[in-house]
């Protein structure tokens, strides 16, 4: 399977984390990153620079 640039970047990230992920699963994981990105945006968007937290 030929990997897109995004997949290659993803593979490098996981290599840095020490995770050896099979190629076919890497493709599945790539499709699900959008869910994580959406959640990250949700927890960041309402924060002002200085908050009581």
């Amino acid at each position: 399977m030929e990997m897109t640039k995004t997949h290659q970047e993803l593979k490098k990230i996981f290599e840095r984390l020490g995770l050896e992920i099979p190629e076919v699963e890497l493709c599945d994981i790539a499709t699900a990153i959008k869910f994580i990105d959406e959640m990250k945006n949700e927890v960041r968007k309402l924060h002002c620079f200085i908050s009581k937290g």
């Binding site: 020490g18 994981i29 990153i33 959640m39 949700e42 927890v43 309402l46 924060h47 937290g53």
Partner: protein, 463 residues
């Protein structure tokens, strides 16, 4: 002849009057497990010999006048994240197949002290997170109402075994809905009590700040009986809170006149994905019933569900990754595919994401506490639909729609799933009742009163 389905309260009454023998009750459950569990896979380990020995002991104690209370001689199960001395505790994972703890979890000690009979260790999603999975050492649990359907998770075996009448109650855990979701899909009562109310010592963790120990049974009354024995301060659990434990069962008066209910409708109607018509109709009917019973109901609004769910999910995944990081590096393929792929995504969460989520959590808790100054309980959905086909549940399904249960792991407040009807095809529907911190008694009181005024507890799955 022992009925196939008994509640804890009913069985306890019979045992106390010596009209029912714990030995016969345990044998009856073991026969049901033998006959039925091959279809629903709710047990990982059946502890038949231990259960028989404990039942004989209970019988002797009761005969000699040493009745310990309402759990004495009652068969229950434990989600296989609760450690049990000299008995494997696997988290339904190859990673932990050889893990044999030296001691019982604190809550298991309490259940045994109350006289409960441990029938076995129950199926879970792998490490209370990855499921349903078909590539683990044991198959996933299936729904007793229709074995082609999903139980919900992660306390899948507890939900299935209680619904099928294989045990009368069970211990479970809930990090983002793992008690309430299987309770909803399997048509049982399930409560995630206040954070810190039940000790987590000896319960294998998923997320340090979101994990709640809890329980499931057929009725709210049975949940109150189980909670009574499991709740209590434990100095060896760093998040355990020393708070007075009320008599939960005595709070079940059947009277809810004057209870103020906040109806949180937008979570499951206009925020993100909407619930299906049978779910919405069943909850609307439950609201009407509670009004007839004397509750005052007012619709309320909180921040959108997506924000609550994102906050909790980011925290849960980051904390779970911290727990599993070493094994993910060295034994990645020993985890099931669902767990390891979800955890790979968790590896993409940064420390900044985690800290932002933690900061947002404080704001959301403040918001919740403000609104609760005007209400005794909140009512919303648990899930958006009846149990789906198990084969249709995707690897990343928990991320596709924000979890309706996660907000109350974020707040740490008591939250309970209560059956509120059935679809035309006979699958259970549920509502969620949420209370103030340490006011678990009011949640149970409303749930119990509702159950008494509706026919839903009279129907059982045909196995």
């Amino acid at each position: 002849m022992i009925p196939d389905f008994l509640t804890i309260a009913h069985a306890a009454k019979l045992i106390q009057k010596r009209e029912l023998s714990p030995v016969e009750l345990v044998e009856n459950c073991l026969q049901r497990i033998e006959r039925i569990d091959g279809q629903i896979n709710s047990f990982i380990h059946i502890l038949a010999d231990n259960a028989r020995s404990a039942a004989h002991l209970a019988e002797r104690e009761i005969a000699s006048g040493h009745y310990r209370g309402l759990l004495h001689g009652i068969p229950i199960g434990l989600k296989d994240v609760y450690e049990t001395a000299d008995i494997p505790t696997t988290c339904h994972s190859k990673i932990m197949m050889n893990h044999i703890p030296k001691a019982d979890a604190q809550s298991v000690i309490r259940l045994k002290q109350a006289g409960a009979i441990i029938m076995g260790k129950l199926a879970t999603h792998e490490f209370a997170f990855g499921g349903p999975s078909f590539d683990l050492p044991w198959p996933p649990a299936r729904n007793p109402w229709d074995i082609t359907r999903f139980t919900g998770g992660s306390s899948s075996g507890t939900g299935a075994s209680v619904a099928a009448g294989l045990v009368l109650g069970g211990a479970a855990s809930d990090t983002g809905g793992s008690i309430r979701t299987p309770a909803a899909y399997c048509g049982v009562a399930g409560i995630k009590p206040t954070f810190g109310l039940i000790s987590r010592k000896g319960i294998l963790p998923l997320s340090f700040s979101l994990d709640h120990a809890g329980l499931m049974a057929w009725t709210a009354e049975d949940c109150a009986i189980l909670l009574q024995s499991m709740a209590g301060f434990d100095s060896e659990d760093p998040v355990s809170i020393d708070h007075p434990i009320p008599d939960y069962r005595s709070s079940l008066t059947g009277d809810v006149k004057g209870i103020r209910v906040g109806f949180l409708r937008h979570f499951y109607t206009t925020d993100a994905a909407a619930a299906n018509t049978p779910t919405c109709d069943a909850i609307d009917a439950a609201v009407k019933k509670l009004e007839e019973m004397g509750c005052s109901v007012h619709e309320i609004h909180l921040s959108p569900l997506t924000e609550w769910a994102a906050c909790g999910t980011i925290i849960m995944m980051a904390e779970a990754y911290a727990i599993h990081e070493a094994n993910l590096r060295t034994r990645f393929m020993d985890y099931g595919e669902v767990f390891r792929n979800r955890m790979a995504l968790a590896g993409l969460i940064t420390s900044a994401d985690y800290i932002q989520a933690t900061r947002r959590r404080r704001e959301l808790i403040d918001e919740f506490e403000r609104i609760m100054t005007n209400f005794d309980v909140i009512l919303t959905a648990v899930v958006r639909n009846e149990a789906p086909q198990i084969e249709m549940v995707g690897k990343f399904s928990i991320f596709e729609k924000p979890l309706l249960t996660m907000p109350f792991n974020v707040t740490g407040t008591p939250a309970m799933s209560v059956c509120c009807g059935y679809t035309e095809t006979g699958l259970p529907l549920a509502m969620q009742i949420i209370g103030k911190r340490f006011d678990d008694a009011t949640v149970l009181r409303v749930a119990d009163a509702y159950e008494r005024c509706t026919p839903w507890r009279q129907r059982r799955p045909l196995m």
